[in-house]
């Protein structure tokens, strides 16, 4: 049974690039719509970073400065990282764990959907949510915190944070492949909240105890927040940007590798 006989009996060739592109777009479009319509989910993704930002950046420390930047500006970078991380972890892990554990992913896999489209849709949706969160923080800072920065810096900050969602999407895939459908949100929070704190996303890095500052160096959110702060020169300058990106890239690769193990493990697992 060679490929030739399949092609003969099929009378058709590979899908056109345009068709493949259409599938990817539709997959992403519906993934986004699906998440957008889960109101509690959307609201909590947005409200946590905004709440913290308003409290610390606008109410409590509005007139203080850190690392050469005004606090309302500084905190857009750190709570932006916090928001991006949440959107990406929940956006990939929660949906994947549920689809996987409750049979929906099997229906998708049995269809002619290009397998990668499913993951790409989750990643793209996480990036869009990430962008919305950063834009919302900036809009609030601009309107109520007197945040001003050159357009170039603003674009750099937004790009850094949106691209920076990728390592967390990768991490979400790894978590989604090993967590159960019901336990996934709990597992995510267990990673998300301590990691955010230790990376200096809640309390600025310089105020963290020394032991946590050492731990932070090993955590991806720390590196992303330093990249974001670096856009307007407020990073702590401990490492070069290249070094930060390298850490994030390496972390992403490890997560994808773990997700791949989960993917293979799944194929031989029993469902109902």
């Amino acid at each position: 049974m060679s490929a030739a006989s399949i092609a003969l009996s099929n009378g058709q060739t590979q899908r056109t690039t345009q068709h493949t592109l259409t599938i990817y777009c539709k997959e992403a479009q519906y993934e986004f719509l699906k998440n957008l319509r889960m109101r509690m989910y959307t609201a909590s993704l947005l409200s946590f970073p905004i709440m913290f930002y308003v409290l610390f950046g606008l109410v409590l420390y509005r007139n203080e400065s850190l690392g050469g930047a005004r606090m309302p500006t500084y905190l857009i970078a750190t709570y932006g990282t916090f928001g991006v991380m949440g959107a990406s972890l929940f956006g990939t892990a929660a949906g994947l764990a549920s689809d996987r554990g409750l049979g929906w992913l099997q229906v998708k896999r049995a269809s002619p959907m290009p397998p990668f489209a499913y993951f790409a849709a989750k990643v793209v949706t996480s990036m869009i949510f990430s962008m919305v969160i950063v834009l919302a923080l900036f809009a609030i800072g601009f309107a109520f915190g007197g945040v001003r920065m050159p357009v170039g810096e603003f674009a750099g900050l937004l790009t850094t944070l949106v691209v920076g969602s990728l390592p967390f999407s990768a991490m979400g895939l790894a978590v989604g492949y090993f967590a159960g459908p019901n336990s996934a949100p709990g597992v995510i929070n267990l990673i998300y909240l301590p990691m955010s704190f230790c990376s200096g996303l809640w309390v600025p890095f310089t105020f963290l105890p020394k032991v946590l500052r050492t731990i932070a160096l090993a955590l991806p959110p720390y590196h992303l927040s330093q990249l974001a702060l670096g856009v307007f020169g407020a990073g702590n300058g401990g490492q070069s940007n290249l070094k930060h990106w390298e850490v994030l890239a390496a972390f992403s690769l490890i997560c994808v590798g773990v997700a791949r193990i989960g993917f293979q493990r799944d194929r031989d697992k029993m469902y109902g």
Binding site: K26, S98, W104, V107, P181
Partner: protein, 317 residues
């Protein structure tokens, strides 16, 4: 009993058709659980095959193997002559599986739109909605549908690509009588259009109503295969009740008797055909009285068939 069912009976026309899906001496284990043992099973072009068996018999496992969702531990799986995981193969198949949760915030038409996009020549959305009886529900979110309506959406997703080969895993579970009839009609319509269908069910009645061929599966093995008439002849049979002085051992030796049970003062015999057995009984016991002959119920007989297979295996262990 197994031995008498072993030869695979197929009609001539069916065997002449080409095989579109084939489980070739397949074994499938989940850890220490043997889900399928040495199963050899074909689906031929244009036929409706029912995999009939109780829950946990291995029906879903067979379907998942044919869909390339799980690999076999031994043996080969071929669909349209190729590996079922081949994307070209999947363009020609559609599947309705048992799902715990489907994304609930998408609307019916959106689900169909997305799955249609996966295929090269999908059916028009209106046609899919009509076939699944979902016209009135097209703008409804999936989470707002009843259990039966959800099943219909899954059916719609299976047929939207106009596949040549359709896998339906327990398609009518949770459907009311009317919806079940509608789905049956739809399946028949697909067959008239030359489509091939493999469906799994634990209702003999459903297999009988739809299938050209039935494979009875129990505990991971195919224990009978044939046309519905052949299966019914093997499973249904007659129940003969009488009061006789003949002992159980003697009764069991009468040709054609498959089962003997004591029932209060009388005995109950099962046989494929009643007449020869009754003739023999009357010869051996002229004083026989209280003779009653009735048809064994289909469902009941099917249960007997699957239970017998299990008992025989236990005996031999």
């Amino acid at each position: 009993m197994i031995a008498t069912l072993e030869p695979v009976q197929t009609t001539e026309s069916a065997s002449a058709k080409s095989t579109v899906a084939h489980l070739e001496n397949v074994n499938k284990n989940y850890g220490s659980v043997r889900a399928l043992r040495n199963v050899d099973f074909r689906v031929r072009a244009g036929e409706v095959v029912a995999l009939l068996g109780p829950n946990g018999a291995g029906k879903t496992t067979a379907v998942k193997l044919l869909l390339g969702l799980i690999p076999p531990n031994a043996g080969k799986v071929r669909v349209f002559g190729g590996d079922p995981v081949n994307p070209q193969t999947r363009l020609r198949t559609g599947a309705m599986l048992q799902v715990g949760r489907v994304p609930e915030t998408l609307r019916v038409r959106e689900h169909i739109d997305l799955f249609s996009a996966y295929y090269d020549k999908p059916l028009p959305a209106a046609e899919v909605l009509a076939a699944a009886g979902l016209e009135q529900l097209r703008d409804r979110k999936f989470g707002e549908l009843s259990g039966g309506q959800k099943q219909r959406v899954l059916f719609a997703l299976a047929i939207c690509g106009d596949p040549d080969l359709l896998f339906l895993d327990e398609p009518t579970v949770g459907l009311d009588v009317e919806a079940r009839r509608m789905l049956w009609d739809e399946i028949r319509r697909l067959v008239r259009r030359g489509r091939t269908i493999l469906l799994t069910t634990h209702y003999l009645q459903e297999a009988d109503a739809l299938a050209d061929r039935i494979a009875v599966i129990n505990k991971g093995e195919i224990i009978a295969e044939g046309t519905p008439a052949e299966i019914k002849a093997q499973t249904a049979g007659k129940r003969i009740r009488c009061v006789t002085r003949l002992g159980l051992a003697v009764l069991r030796q009468i040709p054609g008797v498959t089962e003997v049970q004591e029932d209060r003062e009388a005995v109950e015999l099962h046989a494929a055909e009643a007449e020869p057995v009754v003739r023999e009984l009357l010869v051996r016991d002229p004083a026989l009285s209280g003779l009653e002959i009735s048809s064994a119920g289909l469902e009941e007989a099917f249960l007997a068939l699957t239970q017998d297979a299990g008992n025989n295996r236990n005996d031999s262990n």
